[in-house]
Every structure is written in C-alpha cells, then in structure tokens.
C-alpha cells in the first residue's frame, strides 16, 4: 500500500475545475463541491454541513451525513433510489425528509448548483454498503 507522502509526490490536480459529488462509504456521507475556492466547513445541523469560500463567504458546497437513512426514508415515500446513479437533488429532498428540523435556506442554491452541474452520485456504491 502506498503512503500518503508517496501519493502526493506522484499525483497532481487537474488544471480545470469541475464540480465534485461523491459518496464516501467510510463516513456514510455525501460531499458536493461546486466551486473551487479554498473553503471552510460550517455545521448547520446533525446532517448538513456547508462549505463557505474563504474569499467571500459564498456557499461552495455541502456535506450530507447519514445517507443510508436518507435512502431508506426516500424509499418510504416511494421515491426510487436503487438506480445505478441518482440525481444529487434527490438526496437534498431526502435530507429534507429525514432531518428533524431541516435547514432550508441553502437548499435552493444547492439545488441550482446541482442542476447546473448535472450532478449525480453512484448509488451502486450507496446501496451496496
């Protein structure tokens, strides 16, 4: 297994940014970044953390936790989430259905960013965990 030091010596980031959306099984969380700015995390509630630009405080992304529960909740409402990949906006709906008191104010901006990026996440990995 390679060390992180060796990995960082070898790997270089691409020059052009594209939005990133990925499910990280180790934390059962979904992370979406739609702006490349250096950012800091701000936890809004137990399930939602947003990222803000260090340059201007603008929203740059989010993290939604407890994805397994969110998928179950979506299923309870008859919203299919067993396809190969799912539109990221569906996870935002799932967060709204799952959180006890969902934080609504960033959702429209996140929705627009996900729509613009046509962001999808691989649910094959999600349902396999």
């Amino acid at each position: 297994m390679a060390s992180l030091k060796k990995y960082l010596e070898r790997k270089k980031p691409a020059k052009i940014f594209r939005p990133v959306s990925q499910y990280i099984a180790a934390g059962d969380c979904f992370i979406f970044h739609f702006k490349p700015d250096p950012s800091y995390a701000e936890r809004l509630d137990d399930q939602l953390t947003i990222y803000r630009s260090e340059e201007n405080g603008d929203l740059t992304g989010c993290e939604i936790k407890g994805i397994k529960c969110i998928l179950k909740r979506l299923g309870d409402f008859g919203i299919p989430s067993q396809e190969k990949s799912v539109d990221v906006r569906v996870l935002f709906v799932g967060y709204g259905l799952s959180a006890l008191e969902p934080t609504k104010w960033p959702m429209e901006e996140l929705r627009q960013a996900a729509e613009k990026a046509n962001a999808r996440v691989d649910t094959g990995e999600l349902v396999a965990v």
Partner: protein, 137 residues
C-alpha cells in the same frame, strides 16, 4: 488494505502510533476534478494526525458513535505542493475517520474562540474527548 493509501499518526489513545487509511479513489476524484484547494489540504493531514491538539470520539449520529476527529492548527497551509502560507486566523484543521481509522474527510473549520485548535461548537458536536494536549488540560 486494497484501494487505500496509508498515513501514520498518533494512536487515538495518545499512546504510540497508528496507521490511518484514505480511500485512494476519493483523493483521485478531488485531483481529477481539479479541486486543488481540497487536494493540497491533504498536505496538512499528517501533521494533524501526529500532533493533534485534541481527539474527539462520537459524531452524534447513527453509526458514527465510534468515529473520531483529530483537530489542530497546522503550522502552515498549502497553496500548492511548493507554496505555503500561515493558516488563516480563527481556523482549525479537522480530520474525520471511522472506527477503523479510515479517513473520510479533512477540512478547515472555524475555531473555538476560547480554545486554540478546537473546532467551533465542539461541546455539542462530539460525544467525548479521548485525548488532548497537555496545554489544554
């Protein structure tokens, strides 16, 4: 551990060392997407794992009661592989991992204004402190 990259740091107990893991595909995705700031934040991970200010356990959500957060203010922030600057004031670097020491996020957060190297609202975000540097006891 196939598909993972390793990094050494302090054992969560504070006694001895431990090996931590990051899923290589997660780092690759950030790199391939050109998300340079997140990628270069990886350079801060080893320092925070070796010299944490505090280690928290329990992320107050389902299935994460054993997860850990290592937090500290690293000595520098990386703009790229060769360029460093001082950390932004009022920021703490946090590394999150599950009970198997698989890292799932690394990021800057607002600092607790009363305790250097502690993330904001740590009192309610984590279940307990499992280790802290002597200067904070």
């Amino acid at each position: 551990m196939p598909g993972h990259t390793s990094v050494r740091g302090m054992n969560p107990s504070g006694r001895g060392k431990a090996t931590f893991y990051i899923e290589t595909s997660v780092m690759d995705e950030y790199a391939d997407a050109g998300f340079a700031s997140k990628f270069f934040d990886l350079y801060c991970v080893p320092e925070v794992l070796v010299y944490p200010t505090v280690v928290f356990q329990g992320l107050t959500r389902e299935d994460q009661a054993q997860s850990l957060c290592y937090a500290a203010i690293p000595s520098k922030r990386y703009l790229d592989a060769d360029t460093t600057v001082p950390p932004i004031p009022d920021r703490t670097f946090a590394v999150y991992m599950n009970k198997e020491l698989k890292i799932f996020d690394w990021r800057w957060e607002k600092s607790d204004p009363e305790k250097d190297g502690y993330p904001e609202k740590w009192q309610t975000r984590y279940e307990k402190i499992v280790w802290q540097a002597l200067k904070n006891i």
